[in-house]
C-alpha cells in the first residue's frame, strides 16, 4: 500500500515537473548574441552536400569559401567573420530545417548556398521571408531566378548560358548531326533541354539514360543509327565515363562534348583513356587566366587544384567579406549591398542582374580538351 502511494506521488511529481518545465523559456534558438561583438564582422552560414555521394562536387566550393574567410580573418584581427557550415547532403528535406534554423537565428546575416538547384528551390522562400540574402555558388537551374524571389543571387552562370555557349561552339565546329543524351537528373536534363532549344534542326536524335546505368548498348546503337558527328552528354562523371568508353570501343567516332558536371578528374580517369579528346565546357577560368593569387593560394591550402566551383565559392564568400568590411551590420543592409555589388571576382566580373543572375554578359565559359587525365584549356567560348 505504502509503495503504491509513494509511486503515485512520484508519478504526480513527474507530471508536475514536466508541466512546470513547459513554462520555461525556449532557450535553444536565441543563443547567438556573441557574434555581433565589435564594430565589424559577423556571422554567415554556408550549406550544401558536404558529406554523402555528391560531396565531391561541392567540397571545392566550401574550401574556396573557407579560404576567402580565412584570408580576411588573418589580415583583419579586428574584423572577424564567422562562417558556420551546415551539411545538407544535397537533400532538400535536410536543407529546409537548416534554413529554418539559420533564418530563425538572428545572428546570421547572410547565406552561401545552395549548391544544388533542388535544395535552393526548397529553401529560397524561407530565406526570403527572413530577409536573408543567399549567394549561390553552383545552383544553375534556369528557372530559379524566374520565380520573383528577392533574396536569391548566384555567382555562376545558369544552364541556359552554358547551353548557349555549347551551341555556339557546335555551330563554330560546323556540327551537322548532334546526338543529345542526358541522365534525367535536374542538372543534366535541364542543360540538355536548353541546348535542344538552341540547336534547333541540327539535333539528330536524343536519348535519356538513368543514374547508375552501366551498359549503354541501346544508346550507342541509336547514336550509330543517327550517324551523329557530335555527341553531347548532360550529366555527371559516373555515367559519362563508361558511356564514352563504350562508345569508343563500339567504334563511334563522334566528338564527345560535356558540360561542367564532367569537369572532374575522375571522368578521364574513370574512362581509362576512352575520354581522350573529349571537349568539356566549364564556366571556370584556366589557372593562368584567373586573376590574383587564388589558384596558387588554393593549391597551397588544400594541396590540389580548385575543382569546378572552387572559385565561385571563394567569390560568394568574398562578397560577404566586402559587405562586412563596408560596415554592413543587418540582414537588410547586406541584402542591399549584394544587390548593388559591382566588382571583379576570381571567377568572373560580378554584378547582378535584377533577377539575381550574375550579369550574363560577364559570364566566362571556357572549353577544355581532355589529354591524358588533364584538362587542357582550348578557348573562351562566345555565349551566343
Amino acid at each position: 500500500m505504502r509503495r503504491s502511494y509513494s509511486r503515485a506521488l512520484g508519478t504526480a511529481a513527474l507530471a508536475a515537473v514536466l508541466v512546470a518545465a513547459a513554462g520555461c523559456q525556449d532557450t535553444g534558438s536565441s543563443n547567438g548574441d556573441d557574434a555581433a561583438s565589435g564594430d565589424c564582422g559577423g556571422k554567415i552560414a554556408i550549406f550544401g552536400a558536404f558529406t554523402g555521394d555528391n560531396a565531391g562536387l561541392v567540397l571545392p566550393s566550401l574550401n574556396g569559401a573557407k579560404l576567402a574567410i580565412k584570408q580576411h580573418n588573418d589580415a583583419n584581427a579586428d574584423c572577424q567573420i564567422e562562417m558556420v557550415e551546415f551539411d545538407t547532403q544535397g537533400d532538400p528535406a535536410q536543407a529546409t530545417p537548416v534554413a529554418n534554423q539559420v533564418a530563425g537565428d538572428t545572428s546570421f546575416l547572410g547565406v552561401i548556398g545552395g549548391h544544388f538547384s533542388g535544395e535552393s528551390d526548397a529553401t529560397m522562400p524561407v530565406y526570403e521571408a527572413a530577409g536573408l540574402v543567399m549567394v549561390a555558388p553552383s545552383a544553375t537551374r534556369t528557372d530559379l531566378t524566374q520565380k520573383g524571389n528577392k533574396s536569391f543571387f548566384r555567382v555562376v552562370g545558369n544552364d541556359g548560358t552554358q547551353a548557349g555557349a555549347v551551341a555556339t561552339y557546335l555551330k563554330s565546329q560546323n556540327a551537322q548531326r548532334v546526338f543529345l543524351i542526358d541522365d534525367a537528373s535536374a542538372y543534366g536534363a535541364g542543360i540538355t533541354a536548353e541546348l535542344t532549344k538552341n540547336l534547333g534542326a541540327t539535333v539528330a536524335a536524343s536519348d535519356k539514360i538513368q543514374e547508375r546505368q552501366s551498359q549503354f548498348e541501346a544508346t550507342i546503337s541509336k547514336i550509330k543509327a543517327a550517324n551523329a558527328d557530335f555527341v553531347f552528354y548532360g550529366g555527371y562523371t559516373r555515367e559519362a565515363a563508361p558511356l564514352v568508353r563504350q562508345m569508343r570501343s563500339a567504334g563511334v567516332q563522334a566528338k564527345f562534348i560535356g558540360p561542367d558536371g564532367l569537369y572532374d578528374p575522375a571522368f578521364p580517369a574513370g574512362a581509362s583513356g576512352g575520354a581522350e579528346g573529349s571537349i568539356i565546357t566549364c564556366p571556370c577560368l584556366p589557372a593562368d587566366k584567373a586573376g590574383g593569387t587564388f589558384t596558387a593560394d588554393y593549391q597551397a591550402a588544400y594541396g590540389q587544384a580548385p575543382g569546378s566551383y572552387g572559385a565561385e565559392g571563394f567569390d560568394a564568400a568574398q562578397i560577404f567579406v566586402d559587405a562586412f568590411k563596408d560596415g554592413k551590420k543587418t540582414r537588410a543592409e547586406i541584402l542591399e549591398f549584394v544587390k548593388n555589388y559591382d566588382k571583379q571576382g576570381v571567377s568572373k566580373y560580378i554584378k547582378f542582374a535584377e533577377n539575381g543572375d550574375v550579369d550574363p554578359s560577364r559570364v566566362v565559359i571556357w572549353s577544355y580538351e581532355i589529354k591524358g587525365t588533364a584538362f587542357e584549356p582550348l578557348q573562351e567560348l562566345k555565349l551566343s
Binding site: A15, T27, G28, D87, D91, P97, N100, D121, A186, K208
Partner: protein, 385 residues
Amino acid sequence: MINKMRELDRSRVNALHSVADRWKALPKWQRSLAFVAFVVFLYYLPLLGIPGLTWLRTDSISGGSNWAGVLFTCAVYVLVAIGLNVVIGLAGLLDLGYIGFFAIGAYAVALFGSVNSPVVQYFQREFDLPPTWAVTWAICAFIALVMALISGVILGWPTLRLRGDYLAIVTLGFGEIIRIVARNMEGVTRGPQGIAAIPGPEGPPSSDNQIFGLIDIKPWYWLAITVVLLMVFAVRRLEHSRVGRSWLAIREDEDAAAVMGVYPFKFKLWAFAIGAALGGFAGFLFASRYAFIDPTQFNVNLSILFVAMVVVGGSGNMVGVSVGAVLLAYLPERFREIADYRWLAFGLAMVLVMILRPQGLIPSRRRARELKDRAAEAEEAPAHV
C-alpha cells in the same frame, strides 16, 4: 566480446521487462496520469529547455539543424514506422518498396495542391480557373490517402499470392518504379525539377501565414505529433480486433490459419492497403511541410532505412518501431560527426540486431516467443534448415 554484448543485452532486457511489469501493476488512474504527462511532454518537446537536457537539442551544436524541424522529421518517420509495422510486424510481409507509397502521398498533394504543378495548370487551362486556383489542402489529404490505398491494392493484388521472398523483390522494384516514373514523366510531375509551392493547412507557403509560416516549424511538429497519436490509437484498436488476430494467425502459420477459416490473401491485402495508406499519409505530411519535392528524395536507400527502423526497434511492437524510427532519424542529426558513417552504422545495427536479438530492441512479447519457439524446434531437430 559477443558473449559480453549478449550479457549486457540480457540485463538490459530484464530491466526493461521489470519496468514493463511494474507499469502493468500500477493502478489505472496512475497509468493514465503518466500517459497524459508523456503526451504533454511530447507536445512540449520543441520548446525543450529543461536544464541538463538542452544538449539533446540538435541546434545545441554548431551546424545543427532546427530542433523543431528534426522533431517533425522524427514524427513523420514514426508514422512511417507505424504503417510499415502493420505490414512487416503484424502481417509478416516484407515490403522493401514502402518509399513508393510515401512518394505517392507526397506527389498527390504536390500534383493537386500546388500551382506549380502541371496537373493544376492543366485544370486551370481547361476550366478557365484563376491562376491561383488549386485543390485545397484538406481535400489533398483525402486524395493522398485514397491514392496510396489504391496503389497498395493494385500492387498487392497480383503479388501477395506470390511467396514471401518474391514479394520483397517485387516491392523493391515497385518503389524504384514510382521514383523513375516521377522522374521521367516530365509533363505530369515536372520530372527532376521537382514541384515547389506545395500547400499547407493555410494554403500555399507564404510568410503571411499566421500559424504554418515559413520560419517557425513548431506548429508543423504539433500537427504531425497529433496525427501520430491518432494513428497509434487507431492501429492499436486494429491490432486487437478480429483483423489483427487474423494477421497474427497468418504470420505464425499461414496454412493453419487457412484451415481455421482465415482467408490469408484477404487479410494480407488489408494489411498491405492499410500500411500503404499510412505511408501515403506520412508522405503527404512530408510534402506539405517541405513545400518542395523532387524524385531524388524518394530513393531506395530510404526504403531500406524504413525497414531498418522497424526491425531494429522491434517489429510488431509499436513502441519499439517508434523508438527505432526516432533513433535512426535523430542520431545522425544530433551527432553530425558520424553523418558520413550513417549508412555503415545502419547496416551494422541491422546485422547485429538480427544476429543477437532478432526480435528487436524493444520487442513485442509475442514475437519474441515465436522466435524462441522456432529456436527450440531447431534444437530438437538440428538437421532442418
